[in-house]
């Protein structure tokens, strides 16, 4: 997994609450058996005026000129500024895959849906929770200033605005550690293989019906 330490980039808006994962990446693109190539279909139903199909060349599709990510001022954006409960709905990891493939490394919002939040960390994307009032301020600053950039420092858990304001954020220690070092958490869990085997032996005695039923 890609590590995340320091990142500065252009900020783009997703200015509505309860953005669901169907909106982030519609279901027809979930038929892919790969984990890459979802970027052109990120926010497909908002971004294009027609209905997207898997495998289609998106460069010739009609763009929705009103959608933020289609505006030149947000070109190259790598930080998404969003509203409450971002990523609600389905557990599809295709949502962070699409964000990552598009070029986003960080999403800032007042709150995230639990499964989406967790999925981000598995894909080198940092979801940052900031107070709703701060997010509001960032939206205002972003709209007021073309080319608006933020700097994110995961090590010190802070976001810095162009004018130098610093906003601290919380992130749990294990996720932070994995993301800072780009660690594969399956490898980490397998370091506890002995503990897992020992737990399993106990479980087999306590709850024998959990074993060998499905064969």
């Amino acid at each position: 997994m890609k590590s995340f330490t320091l990142h500065s980039g252009i900020v783009a808006p997703m200015d509505r609450a309860n953005v669901d994962t169907d909106l982030i990446i519609p279901k027809q693109f979930l038929k892919s058996i790969k984990r890459s190539g979802f970027g052109p279909n990120l926010f497909d139903e908002l971004r294009y005026l027609d209905e997207g199909q898997p495998g289609q060349d998106c460069s010739t599709r009609p763009l929705n000129p009103d959608f933020a990510l289609n505006k030149p001022r947000y070109r190259g954006a790598s930080i998404l500024l969003a509203r409450a409960n971002f990523g609600c709905g389905s557990s599809r990891e295709h949502a962070p895959w699409a964000l990552e493939d598009f070029g986003f490394r960080c999403v800032i919002a007042p709150s995230f849906a639990d499964i989406f939040y967790n999925n981000c960390f598995k894909n080198g994307i940092l979801p940052i929770v900031l107070d709703a009032a701060i997010v509001d301020t960032l939206f205002q600053q972003m709209y007021a200033s073309e080319g608006y950039e933020l700097s994110v420092d995961l090590e010190h858990q802070r976001v810095t605005s162009p004018s130098g304001e610093i906003y601290s954020f919380e992130v749990d220690e294990f996720r932070r550690h994995c993301l800072l070092n780009g660690l594969d958490d399956i490898g980490l869990t397998l370091q506890d293989a002995e503990a897992i085997r020992s737990y399993e032996q106990g479980l087999r005695k306590r709850s024998p019906w959990l074993f060998d039923a499905i064969r």
Binding site: S91, E93, I115, E173, A213
Partner: protein
């Protein structure tokens, strides 16, 4: 020490390693797989050269992509018309063969929606940790299990280690006291709960559903409730084990028998919150206050009782909320202030992991029996949740009731709930749907979903608009 909640007990029973940083390695008893969220996980396993940790903990079934139309379905995987869907279902078959995982293939009678199949086969049981790459895994919490959806990276994690790294959630009790009116179902209750706490109300919590109404519900009803915990923002919902649970589980294919059943029952009887357990949040609703519910917007929290009127953005002070309501009304093609009963569905969908079990089909059949679908309704689909549900419904003659009413009786699968197969809404069409999500485009590009109970969907199919099923005279 204060007593433990049901969630606390399930959590503590599954901690393999508690780490200093607050995370824990949690053991997973049952892993369910389907075709959409597993291919990349198997690929990851192969690329890393890792073996499967424990074969018998896994069970797979294709459901999202499978055709529900009988002719296309009869040819099996090879006959799936959409080549992209076909490859995905075929990939599940190939992976299960390579890793020797038990799979109920497309035309196996045990095939169906993964969250219908698990409890039905006794593959998911009380006290288990159950995960699946699907957010509606919360369904299995109805059995008194700790069950939640995971992403594909975690699917791979479970395949490789039989564990997940988790942080403990907070506890929420949602208690429904009293009794329900006739015609009001589990679906209405859970929609009312979502209307009350909001679609993010349960974020960070594990929800336990309790109270007399839930105690009085069938397992099917409890599954409907737990299924939609995720629409309230909670990854998991659960219900304490009682006689209803045990009666449901006993005798199922993969459930323990004989002496092992006795041992299991003794353990399962402990699976309830202690009297002095502490919850971080308690929400109480009165069953008598709950009317049949209909969603009008593009989030499950945009829900009203059937006698309600759509909100007027002009009356909303909060700018974010006002914008959300305006956008939803525009997407849905509906006017502020209009009556729910004036909404006219173009299509009706009875199915999904929320409402495709036998009790759901019986409720819908009771409403349409001897009646006809309104001429204004283009299509009314009934999609049983599994081959076993289908067989049972046919044994009871429910299929004939639906067909005589002008509805289509289909093969089992996820179908129009998320429209990954051919069953979908056209742009601008309204659907009375027993599924779980009314997001923009969920049931088809530009489609407009109204979430309701099976009885309400059936009544809307006949009347041509939403009606209060409490006033329906069954024939």
């Amino acid at each position: 020490m204060a007593g433990q909640t049901l969630y606390d007990k399930l959590w503590h029973n599954h901690v393999v390693v508690q780490r200093d940083d607050g995370s824990a390695v949690i053991y997973i008893d049952r892993h369910l797989l389907h075709e959409v969220t597993s291919p990349q996980a198997f690929e990851g396993l192969r690329l890393a050269g890792r073996p499967l940790w424990r074969r018998d903990a896994n069970l797979a079934v294709p459901d999202h992509n499978v055709p529900t139309e009988a002719v296309e379905r009869s040819g099996g995987v090879a006959a799936i018309a959409d080549p992209v869907s076909r490859l995905q279902v075929q990939t599940l078959d190939d992976n299960c063969r390579d890793y020797d995982i038990v799979e109920f293939e497309i035309n196996d009678r045990r095939q169906g929606i993964v969250h219908v199949v698990g409890p039905e086969q006794g593959a998911t049981l009380p006290g288990m940790t159950v995960v699946c790459g699907d957010s509606h895994t919360s369904t299995h919490g109805a059995l008194g299990a700790l069950a939640h959806g995971i992403g594909t990276s975690e699917v791979e994690h479970v395949l490789a280690t039989q564990c997940l790294i988790q942080q403990k959630m907070k506890n929420m009790l949602v208690r429904i006291d009293g009794a329900l009116h006739r015609g009001v179902t589990a679906k209405d209750v859970v929609l009312a709960v979502i209307g009350e706490i909001g679609t993010a109300g349960g974020s960070g919590y594990a929800i336990e559903f309790g109270g007399d109404v839930v105690r009085g519900m069938s397992m099917e009803g409890r599954m409907t409730m737990c299924n939609m915990s995720i629409e309230a923002g909670a990854r998991m919902g659960m219900v304490a084990v009682d006689d209803t649970t045990l009666d449901y589980v006993k005798g199922r294919t993969y459930a323990p028998r004989g002496a092992m059943w006795e041992q299991a029952e003794a353990a399962w009887r402990e699976l309830h919150s202690d009297d002095d357990a502490q919850f971080d949040r308690v929400v109480v609703l009165r069953g008598e206050d709950i009317k049949p519910q209909v969603t009008w917007g593009t989030s499950p929290e945009m829900v009203l009782p059937v006698d309600g009127h759509l909100p007027d953005p002009a009356m909303i002070d909060n700018a974010m909320q006002r914008a959300a309501v305006e956008r939803a009304l525009q997407y849905m093609g509906l006017q502020a202030g209009m009556s729910i009963t004036d909404i006219r569905p173009d299509r009706v969908f009875i199915g999904s992991c929320t409402n495709s079990r036998i009790e759901d089909l019986r409720a819908a059949a009771a409403v349409v029996k001897g009646r006809r679908v309104a001429s204004s309704v283009k299509q009314a689909l009934v999609v049983p949740g599994s081959g076993e549900v289908k067989k049972q419904a046919e044994a009871e003659g429910l299929d004939q009731i639906f067909i005589e009413a002008g509805m289509e009786w289909r093969e089992p699968g996820c179908s129009m709930c998320l429209a990954m197969n051919a069953d979908k809404l056209g742009a601008g069409e309204h659907c009375a749907s027993t599924s779980n999500r009314n997001f923009e485009g969920r049931q088809g590009f530009g489609g407009r979903t109204h979430l309701v109970s099976p009885a309400m969907a059936a009544a809307a199919a006949v009347a041509g608009h939403f009606v209060d099923v409490r006033n329906w005279q069954e024939q």
